[in-house]
């Protein structure tokens, strides 16, 4: 009797404790938060600052464009309700009338005209997104005309990543120019945003984290059920995978190839793989009269097509795709992904043939090979440095001694890009931002003249065949798709015949996605927050 | 004097080293009576300090007491368990080290160190202990003890610090004080003061003192009796007047060759050619025989036992031989 009495208060206490605990455990209608991590960071919120897929996708949650691309990369209206081409050189855009910026001000034609000027101003990384010769004219508050000097069927191909900014906001905050007026003052637009998109940025710490919250005044319907999205940078591969597997984040990019099996086996997350639009290829300096950092003095071996062919044939891309890429890559004969060019199927990659390669080198006068330096990024593309290493050892077998200079992307690009183009042999990945072959013929294979047009801007080795420039010009203004494809084929044939580039493969996308999350993976490797939903 | 405080019988101390067992003290016996000062002299390495350390139970490993007994007021203390021996230390046996500069913990006020000692061994309150500490400091001749008690050791001069050390040794009214070279590190002028102080305190409190030193001058000045040690053994022990004026053992005689007075600068002690043997190489027979001017064959084989010669005891075959000869 006594013992029962004494036990009672204890029981009550335990019960109370339990109740208290369970009450504490039930969150007060928690916000639905999506946490995600990428290997790089969002450096700037200014949508004209950096042409890099992931950053562009993030900007796309906050800013919007006149014309967007849907889940299948087809054009779709966004800030422009509709558009037409009353004549080949005039494009008319009808703007939505119910749109406001995040600061509450209405969206009008003035903002479009302002943005068209800003995106093409010095310091913008998106100058080629809007045709350089285009003039924008306001018809009324919600109608804008784009006037071109000559017909251009692909004039709006890159509009989906040309985001519209508020004129009044930019003027008020000294953010009219994409790069700050004085080199010693910080950029306002890099740290703050004022878009029209479904999300607002509530916190932005470059290199640490960025917090997106739902924009209550958004004009459209949003598929996403998220209240909040928190972005973090996790540069270290192992840490990033660990964060996904432990459920700390719901999405990571990229999942390293070797860890994909483990992620899939985890039960909590899966790898979403799909072909990417980016093509990885090798380029050779065919411009300089003497190859830099090479044992060959006084001449440039790459000016000899036989040497280029020998390099091409020495590299066994099939093995690279199978071994280095663990099957997560599609060997490519072209500098463009198959989905972006209908007649890709007609091209075949010449089979690797080390014997023939050696013979070609001998014919070209290098029976013992030669030495040169190869530039390679080590944190930009999937297994970029291992690919380069594999190339180095394959070339070693035909007697070419390659000194591999693998560097982080910041240093790498500073070296190989304009203005110095300081490279003899390099690896690059390229996605045509217009998603069209013309971009390849123009920027990658066009002769580098250093003019303002941007032709050959990414032709780091200055492979130059004037025939391609002619073809590119015809392709640009050709409106008949059939004829256009034929012209393009001629261009690609020429590059292959010249052994101008060594295309390797399209890498596979490798997003690690929590099973609680549904989202859309487009081949352009952009994560669009407005398509992300998460089980609460 | 019959009132024996300390009695050491056949004490041996050994050190285990990687070269085997070294015997640092070998069969040492002596007594100290109440109020008596026994001087222990000898060269460095003769075993004086080790004897002191053995008595207070502070021989660090790898050393150990290998044989013999130590009794304090009739109670055996060499085999006490550590905790009980700790209670003997400080309470019943006090100790004074050679270097007053390093004997005091530099981070504590001297008063705190005295109070700590008093309170470890008595039930006095903090306040009472502090009062006693001030009295002790006054007794050892520190001027303005009420103020100085809150000073740090580095604020005291060497002589003053040795006075503090003596006060610390006296803190719990021990029956025996082991003073290990208490004046060696001090200026000559201060040495005399410290010796005088030690003598006075010992007289006032009736404390027995074991005064370890290599300085015959100090012995002559302070000790009642003296033991001369050589190679871990006692060569001669007896009243100070006898040993100093009429040393029997050839080694003791050599030591007495030049006794510096306290007012003069101390001269060299060992006037005997050669040096004391290392512990690893103690010769057979009498340890002193290689240096002894009066060596004869028996010394090389047989170890001399202490035999009474007058009021002293001397470990030398010479006196055996003399008797034989006579």
């Amino acid at each position: 009797m006594e013992s029962r009495l004494s036990r009672r208060p204890l029981k009550a206490l335990a019960l109370g404790l339990l109740l208290g605990l369970s009450a504490a455990a039930v969150p007060v209608q928690a916000a639905n938060v999506f946490r995600f991590a990428f290997q790089g960071d969002i450096k700037s919120l200014d949508p004209y600052s950096l042409k890099e897929s992931f950053t562009i996708g993030m900007h796309g949650a906050v800013y919007e464009s006149l014309v967007t691309r849907d889940k299948n990369l087809k054009f779709a209206p966004q800030l422009a309700e509709s558009w037409e081409t009353p004549e080949p050189t005039r494009w008319r855009f009808h703007l939505r009338k119910d749109v406001t910026f995040h600061d509450g001000s209405p969206f009008t034609a003035d903002d479009v005209i302002f943005s068209a000027a800003r995106v093409r101003a010095p310091g913008s990384n998106f100058q080629t997104n809007v045709p350089g010769d285009a003039e924008f004219v306001k018809v009324d508050d919600h109608t804008v005309d784009m006037l071109l000097k000559k017909p251009n069927p692909i004039a709006i191909y890159q509009f989906s990543t040309w985001y519209i900014m508020s004129k009044a906001w930019a003027e008020k905050n000294g953010a009219v120019a994409p790069s700050p007026a004085s080199a010693t003052s910080p950029s306002y637009a890099a740290l703050h945003e004022n878009g029209t998109g479904p999300f607002v940025v509530t916190e932005h710490q470059p290199g640490v984290k960025t917090v997106f919250k739902k924009f209550s005044g958004y004009w459209g319907k949003v598929e996403s059920n998220l209240d909040e999205a928190v972005f973090t940078t996790i540069g270290n591969d192992a840490t990033r995978v660990a964060a996904l597997l432990s459920g700390e984040v719901d999405w990571v990019d990229p999942v390293p190839l070797q860890d994909q099996q483990r992620v899939n086996a985890s039960g909590t997350a899966t790898v979403m793989a799909g072909p990417e639009l980016r093509t990885i290829f090798l380029g050779m300096d065919q411009g300089r009269d003497e190859l830099k950092d090479s044992t060959v003095k006084g001449k440039n071996p790459f000016k000899d097509a036989r040497v280029r062919e020998a390099f091409y044939l020495a590299i066994d891309e099939d093995t690279i795709a199978k071994r280095v890429m663990r099957g997560q890559a599609t060997p490519s004969a072209l500098l463009i992904a198959p989905t972006l060019y209908d007649r890709s199927g007609e091209f075949k990659r010449p089979a690797s043939d080390a014997k023939r390669a050696k013979q070609l080198l001998t014919e070209a006068g290098y029976p013992d090979g030669f030495g040169l330096t190869m530039d390679c990024p080590n944190d930009r593309y999937v297994n970029d440095e291992p690919i380069c290493q594999a190339v180095v050892s394959m070339l070693a077998r035909i007697g070419v001694k390659v000194n591999l200079a693998a560097q982080p992307k910041a240093k790498y690009f500073a070296k190989v890009l304009a203005p110095s183009y300081d490279t003899s042999f390099y690896l690059v990945g390229w996605t045509p931002s217009s998603q069209d072959s013309h971009n390849i013929l123009f920027e990658i294979a066009g002769c580098r003249k250093g003019d303002k047009s941007g032709r050959g801007g990414w032709n780091l080795g200055n492979y130059c065949n004037p025939k391609i420039d002619e073809i590119a010009d015809r392709v640009e203004s050709e409106t008949d798709p059939k004829k256009r494809d034929a012209e393009i084929k001629e261009g690609f044939d020429t590059i292959q015949a010249d052994w101008g580039y060594i295309p390797l493969h399209q890498q596979a996308l490798a997003w690690g996605v929590s099973k609680k999350v549904t989202l859309v993976q487009r081949p352009d490797n952009m994560l669009m927050l407005y398509w992300v939903s998460k089980e609460p | 004097m019959s009132d024996t405080v300390l009695s050491v019988r056949d004490l041996s101390v050994a050190f285990e080293t990687r070269r085997g067992t070294l015997t640092a003290i070998d069969g040492v016996s002596f007594d100290i009576a109440k109020g008596e000062i026994l001087g222990v002299v000898g060269e460095s390495g003769a075993g004086k300090s080790v004897t002191g350390a053995a008595v207070i139970g502070l021989i660090d490993p790898p050393g150990r007491i290998a044989g013999g007994t130590i009794t304090l007021r009739g109670e055996r203390i060499d085999d006490l368990p550590p905790e009980r021996m700790r209670r003997v230390r400080g309470r019943r046996i006090g100790m004074i080290f050679q270097d007053p500069l390093t004997s005091l913990d530099p981070l504590y006020r001297v008063g705190d160190q005295i109070v700590e000692t008093i309170r470890t061994h008595t039930d006095l309150s903090q306040k009472a202990a502090r009062a006693r500490a001030i009295a002790l400091l006054a007794e050892v001749g520190i001027p303005a003890p009420e103020r100085r008690i809150d000073g740090y050791p580095h604020e005291f001069s060497g002589g003053m610090r040795q006075r503090v050390v003596i006060a610390l040794a006296l803190a719990a009214e021990p029956e025996l004080i082991i003073a290990d070279e208490p004046t060696t590190a001090l200026d000559v002028s201060v040495q005399a003061q410290i010796i005088t102080l030690l003598k006075r305190l010992c007289r006032d409190h009736g404390t027995a003192v074991m005064l370890v030193t290599h300085d015959m001058g100090v012995i002559a000045e302070a000790a009642d009796r003296v033991a001369v040690m050589y190679s871990g053994r006692i060569a001669e022990i007896g009243p100070v007047a006898d040993v100093v004026r009429e040393p029997r053992h050839p080694y003791a005689a050599g030591l007495m060759g030049a006794i510096p007075t306290l007012t003069q600068s101390p001269g060299r002690l060992a006037q005997i050619p050669g040096s004391m043997p290392r512990l690893t190489a103690i010769p057979a027979g009498c340890a002193f025989h290689p240096r002894c001017p009066k060596v004869f064959s028996r010394c090389r084989v047989e170890r001399p036992e202490p035999i009474p010669v007058g009021p002293s005891r001397v470990a030398c075959h010479l006196f055996d031989a003399q008797e034989n000869a006579a």
């Binding site: 390293p256 594999a390 | 990687r18 070294l22």
Partner: protein
Amino acid sequence: MSASAGEAALPPPAAAPRSRLARFRDSDLWASFKRSKLAIGALAVTALLFTLAIAAPLISPQNPYDPAQLDLINSNLPPLWQAEGQAPFLWGTDDQGRDVLSAVFYGLRLSLIVGILGVLVSGALGIALGLVAGYVGGWLDTLIMRVADVQLTFPAILIALIVDGVAKAAFGGALDTNATIGLIVVSIGLSFWVQYARTVRSSVMVEKGKDYVQAARLIGLSSPVIMLRHVLPNVTGPVFVIATINLALAIITEATLSFLGTGLPETMPSLGTLIRTGNRFLFSGEWWIVAFPGLALAGLVLAINLLGDWLRDALNPKLQ
């Protein structure tokens, strides 16, 4: 005299001239060495690893630095004792078909070269500066010792990163392997000299006050030379201890630099680079790519540290 009398009374060195070896065998160093099983083990491991490093080109089944010998077909093979293992790749291969065993041998070689060069540079720098500071004294001493204080702020990693960043900004572009090695060696040298300098300086300070230096001055002898002759033997022990421990630190530093991406390139991997690249495969089950270089590095550093530890204890008279 204290209670440790037994140790202090060791026999004097025998008067008769004896061979150096015999004297060494009789010395405390040797005795303490024989007693310490750990020291014997550490020395054995160190000796083994040094031998492997020196003999790497002779005993490796493959030259991992020769790209022509790598074949992608052999990539990612597990160790020989596993089901898919293939001869001659005892410890398996990495993602480039590089034999892990050979890579570890060559990596040991490179790590040791970088470490030893780094220690030599820092030692030379430190001893020179310590001598100057101690001997000349005055404002030069103050300056050198203040710089040493500042230096302590910046661990080798930080210095190396800054040296690397500045070098790349200044020269632009990638450096070749030899330049990278040089850069790392310089960084290590710049960050580890302080201890040598302090040790040598204090020894010089002690010697400076001694009679023979004053005497030498009086009779017009060049005292720096005489001092050198007295100072150097005094500091050999401590300097050797510092060098041993620094060698371990230098090897770790190089590995860490490689992890942060400023170390040696993947085509010419040191142990650190091997761990960095192998680290990618830690989660994927291809454990052998990181495990063997990791074990080799840990073993090497541990053995050297143990040796250094034991040396320090053995040479420290206070601890005997």
